[in-house]
Subunit: 197 residues, 2 copies
Amino acid sequence: MGGPEVEHLISLLARLPGMGPRSARRAALRLLRRPDERMLPLAAALVAAANAVKTCSLCGNLDSNDPCAICTAPNRDHTTICVVEGVGDLWALDRAGVYHGLYHVLGGTLSALGGVRPEDLNVAALLTRSGDGTVREIILALGATVEGATTAHWLTDRLRPLGVTVTKVAQGVPMGGALDALDDGTLAAALRARRES
Amino acid sequence: MGGPEVEHLISLLARLPGMGPRSARRAALRLLRRPDERMLPLAAALVAAANAVKTCSLCGNLDSNDPCAICTAPNRDHTTICVVEGVGDLWALDRAGVYHGLYHVLGGTLSALGGVRPEDLNVAALLTRSGDGTVREIILALGATVEGATTAHWLTDRLRPLGVTVTKVAQGVPMGGALDALDDGTLAAALRARRES
């Protein structure tokens, strides 16, 4: 509908996370109603972001500067590095506003099935940073999956000899979570990690 | 996160229907991972669609040609016009593939509260088309709302004198709809419009 240009636009919009063919059509229509106010600014923003954004050579974050704003922030705690799988995890943690150290983006997790080996991840840079004498604690904030746990275990073995403290984020009942809605694995982890109240 | 260009892109993506701040961030990240394959093609598609798409001067559809592909299709039934509120309705009906006549996009419905008067809608062109001698039936496919019903009533009064048959799409139980999940208005309409089975 609407000609080949619109069909093509809808097919690209439908590939965005959270969008499907139906919402892509609605989005395309909304944009088409105000081309100058909505479509062209979005196109310009895409081009600007594509041109501006680089991968930080220190931590793997995406930012318009390399090193990124976090790695160069003088008011952040440069003795602590929080290791995450992806940039989305970094953004989520930083939005929470409870952590003020540095980050390190692995770019994935080790996976025998998926064929992801240590050399496929941003690991060498992490080992270099961790052994530079400044860093004192590495917090592993990896997903609570088999691959996340395997990666955490493998990293712990390599980070401990560098003289840094290696910790993991706690597992348990999420804030606002009803116990009867949780899976067995979460319940077991929450029970195992129980503390005096 | 990610610098001002990325923040700006996220704010624009979050305004698309079906998207929120969270999915806009995920979408931006997905695009940023492959700028050349995902971001720049999407930007180009937006510009191409903005430049190509026109409003059909006959029916109000959006298309890369004016008159649109539907109005100029020789294999469509030019004696029937289906009147819809918006281009999205036209696309939805045409995708269903059960109607092969022409369309007319009103661009809204009459609304005393919203201050939408007949002259704010694409009505004059509809009356001209309807009285040209070719058209025999006008199907009103407006929403089952107070405004939709008011608009249908108002249009019927003006279209009948032109010598065309004016019909309305049926109201009733939607396909796959469980009776106990439907609202009272739909149930009442379905009962009133009952037919021998």
